[in-house]
């Protein structure tokens, strides 16, 4: 679980001070008040509860990227111990470093997607989302009407501007214009369509949306504490322990890709995935943000994301954007590719394509 390369490539000595040092220097009084505060919230000082100690230690934990190797190891041991006890199974919290020379990209074929939502639930299984109250899905599948293409001959002469007391006003349109139009407009998208439907419905197409792993991520810009940041593989991750739950990132994201734990997550122990990563699928706590990480716990070890593996039609492709032989690069080279909400200039590395 040791990490021989830092999460980001910046030099350690750039960092003049850390929160922990800061606390050490001037904040001791504040910190002890804090600990006293949480102790008075229910734990007697001599409690045998292992959680109490680790909770206190977690309050004092710094930004993971800036922690020393020993501190990281300690933090991870703490988490592994806690999760193993809580979920009653041997849980590992990996700190697998980012890969060398890799920029992750994703491509999704909206011509193939049938809207079955298997990716959504694969993601839930893999990434330990809260199952009930709150229900958290990182992927949202939009069902978008193809639009009314039922032109009729009897409307050929309709569409003149209406007359009123003020005279004729408006612009003349063709008589077949008064029906929703197709296109990738989210205005008519349905994200809650029923599971009782057989899919695909021939009158709709389907567009799954998840974190687009922007090269210029507005969420990272919005985060006041840099708990969310872009890793060297281009994936935007979150240090859940550093997150303060202000939800600025959620507002900043044009793709509605971020989810907030409004309550204590409910994760049944037998469904819990015990293979986790610190920045990925380890169980989260109340009051923190979470979102798709391209399954950092899998992809940093060479395996495909869970959503891709679940897709029954093969609409999802993942790979290294720096490798010209990768599936994504070949798609970029040969298919009709676009980015969702390109006008936001967020430069996603999640591409949609046709063909």
């Amino acid at each position: 679980m040791s990490d021989d390369r830092a999460e980001t490539n910046n030099k350690k000595d750039d960092v003049t001070t850390s929160r922990r040092d800061f606390l050490k220097n001037i904040g001791i009084a504040g910190a002890s008040t804090l600990m006293a505060g949480s102790a008075s919230a229910g734990v007697p000082a001599d409690s045998p509860d292992p959680d109490a100690e680790s909770t206190a230690a977690e309050w004092l934990q710094g930004h993971f990227v800036l922690m020393s190797e020993e501190d990281k190891k300690e933090a991870i041991n703490r988490l592994e111990k806690r999760y193993t006890a809580k979920y009653d199974k041997k849980t590992t919290v990996a700190n697998t470093p980012p890969l060398e020379g890799v920029l992750f990209g994703y491509a999704l074929n909206i011509g193939k997607c049938i809207g079955c939502r298997r990716c959504v639930h694969a993601c839930v299984q893999e990434n330990n989302q809260s199952r009930t109250n709150p229900v958290i899905h990182w992927i949202q599948v939009m069902k978008i009407p193809k639009g009314n293409f039922a032109f009729t001959a009897d409307k050929l002469n309709d569409g003149y501007p209406k007359s009123s007391a003020f005279g004729d006003y408006g612009v003349q349109v063709g008589g077949n214009a008064y029906a929703p139009v197709g296109g990738l407009a989210t205005e008519h998208a349905q994200s809650y369509y029923s599971a009782d439907e057989m899919v695909p419905d021939k009158d709709y197409f389907y567009v799954p949306v998840q974190c687009q792993q922007c090269e210029k991520p507005p969420c990272v810009k919005a985060c006041p504490v840099r708990a969310t940041f872009r890793d060297p593989n281009g994936v935007v991750v979150i240090d859940y322990n550093w997150c303060i739950g202000c939800r600025m990132c959620q507002l900043a994201c044009p793709y509605q890709a971020r989810r907030f734990n409004w309550g204590e997550p409910n994760l049944p122990p037998e469904e819990m995935n015990p293979k986790t990563h610190y920045f990925g699928n380890r169980p989260r706590m109340r009051g923190v943000m979470e979102k798709c990480t391209f399954c950092v716990q899998r992809t940093r070890e060479g395996r495909n994301p869970a959503c891709l593996e679940a897709c029954p039609v093969g609409a999802r492709k993942f790979g290294n954007l720096l490798d010209p032989e990768s599936d994504v690069r070949k798609i970029l080279a040969t298919k009709k590719v676009f980015r969702f909400k390109e006008e936001m200039s967020t430069y996603p590395k999640f591409f949609y394509y046709i063909g």
């Binding site: 850390s18 959504v120 409910n266 009051g287 060479g302 395996r303 029954p312 093969g314 599936d327």
Partner: protein, 285 residues
């Protein structure tokens, strides 16, 4: 972008930290947390009593797979996890469970080299009803005596296999341009056959399909059409889906991919009983 933390940031961080930590200490009192987790355990026991074990991957029935526990002992992973709603496979504990090498593939001389070195597939033969009716596969009946070998490729009405092809004179593939014996060998029924007379195993349908659908085959070979799971890296070990795991060769004209059931949606937004608001204005303008 470098996550440097400037002293001013630290002060802001500290301020926010104190506020939020205080708030969390209030709401997240440790003993309430504990009470909740036991409630969760009970709830979980009630809802998730028995995992679904009879599942399918892409094509209903034809990609059946059974859940086996503890295939990856390190994490206690089963081979697959399935949807309680649709029995669709949602998650792979072991992406290579039940696979065999893809087998011989024609050499590809472009830069991709087909990436076949570490290619594995799930064999199709065990999935076929008629292949498993006797010790000799299809040849149990199609041995030249029990069922005589057809003399030519001319379409005729077949009085057998209606469960596979309802009406052999209206085969739903190729709009009348092809028939059974363009794909099935006349004299060696255990094999598929292309129009040049080359025989392929049912486990390698891509070589048959590819002989007519060259363009799709190129994409499939490059990993664009179809599906591969396992390693993402070029040259890594991958399980490939063969054509017939998604397409039913006898019905592609009706449905290229047969519709399946959808999985559960997220619950409606907080405070809403349903999501009808999504449909407002659907048919106006």
């Amino acid at each position: 972008m470098k996550p440097q933390i400037a002293p001013t940031t630290v002060i802001i961080v500290l301020a926010l930290f104190a506020v939020v930590a205080g708030g969390l200490a209030l709401v997240g009192g440790l003993d309430t947390q504990k009470a909740k987790s036991t409630a969760v355990e009970e709830q979980a026991k009630a809802t998730d009593a028995q995992p679904v074990t009879d599942c399918f991957e892409s094509r209903v029935a034809y990609t059946a797979v059974t859940r086996t526990e503890n295939i990856v002992p390190q994490y206690g992973y089963p081979n697959i996890k399935c949807s309680p709603k649709t029995s669709g496979v949602l998650w792979y504990g072991d992406p290579f469970d039940g696979t065999i090498p893809m087998g011989e593939m024609p050499e590809v001389t472009d830069a991709t080299r087909g990436d076949f070195v570490n290619a594995v597939v799930k064999p199709r033969e065990p999935r076929l009803t008629y292949f498993n009716m006797g010790p000799d596969g299809c040849a149990t009946c199609h041995n030249g005596t029990m069922v005589v070998f057809p003399k030519d490729k001319k379409p005729r009405l077949i009085t057998m296999h209606q469960d596979i092809v309802a009406n052999s004179l209206q085969l739903q593939h190729g709009r009348g341009a092809i028939w059974c014996l363009d794909c099935h060998s006349a004299t060696n029924r255990n094999k598929l056959v292309d129009r040049q007379g080359r025989e392929f195993s049912f486990n390698q349908p891509q070589r048959l399909c590819g002989s007519c659908h060259g363009e799709v085959y190129i994409d499939w070979r490059e990993g664009i059409h179809g599906k591969r799971i396992g390693a993402w890296a070029t040259g890594g070990k991958k399980r490939w889906w063969v054509c017939t795991e998604c397409h039913n060769p006898h019905t592609v004209q009706t449905n290229r991919f047969n519709p399946i059931n959808a999985e559960l949606p997220p619950p409606p937004p907080k405070g809403m009983k349903n999501a009808d608001h999504e449909r407002v204005g659907q048919n106006e303008h």
